[in-house]
Amino acid sequence: MGNNKNKRFVIENQIGELSSLADKIDELAEEWELSPALAMNMNLVIEEAVSNIIFYAFNDDNKHEIRISISLENSSLTIKIIDDGIPFNPLAQQQPNITLPAEERPVGGLGIFLISQIMDEMKYARQKNQNILTLIKRI
């Protein structure tokens, strides 16, 4: 087996897709012999990014494809997520204030923050009416 591993998933913009996607990612983590902690983090960042897309990216009732590619090269895990929804740059979002007490903490707004904390790199591009989110973690 070579050093480079790649896997692609294509799902529809339906929230019900998340369960089977999670199962597939768990299977992939097992196949690639990733640690349970890394498997959880991989699942988590993909869930956060994809659920955001499903909930907020589309203004119509049409079916849209969300494409997820995962690659493992040497000691670097790269996750690329592509959708054709409205432009959304997660890097431009305001970071939550995580020092507030419970009474003052706003509910929500943590998904992108979690991605940024878990991954080492987060890149965004808008190309040909597509959002391209690239997430990299060195392992």
Binding site: I15, G16, L18, S19, A22, P36, A37, M40, N41, N43, L44, E47, E48, S51, P96, I98, T99, L100, P101, A102, E103, R105, V107, G108, L110, G111, F113, L114, Q117, I118
Partner: protein
Amino acid sequence: MNIKKEKIGDFSILKIKGRVDTMHSSTLEGEVTKAFDSGENNLIFNCSGMDYISSSGLRVFLIAQKKAKAINGKLYLCSMQPAIQEIFRISGFSNLFSIFNTQEEALANQ
């Protein structure tokens, strides 16, 4: 995800097993609402079987803590797996909750 509930002393214990994610967090939210609505003001979340949490799950814990504080209830978490503890840490949630290593330690804080 499934949730088992039992009462010990003044506490209702919710034992969470499985994934607390976008698909399942509403189940937990429903149980929490039900507990508070029926006057169970002191809750312990036993997280020993909780092997995954995402922001939608964290959201439910925060809602529960806000509610507990508003009614002067106690809300404790216990027996969290290390990977889950890490998610709580990076999101600043470790500081929002009383987190115990074991259910016995949580119960000792009556």
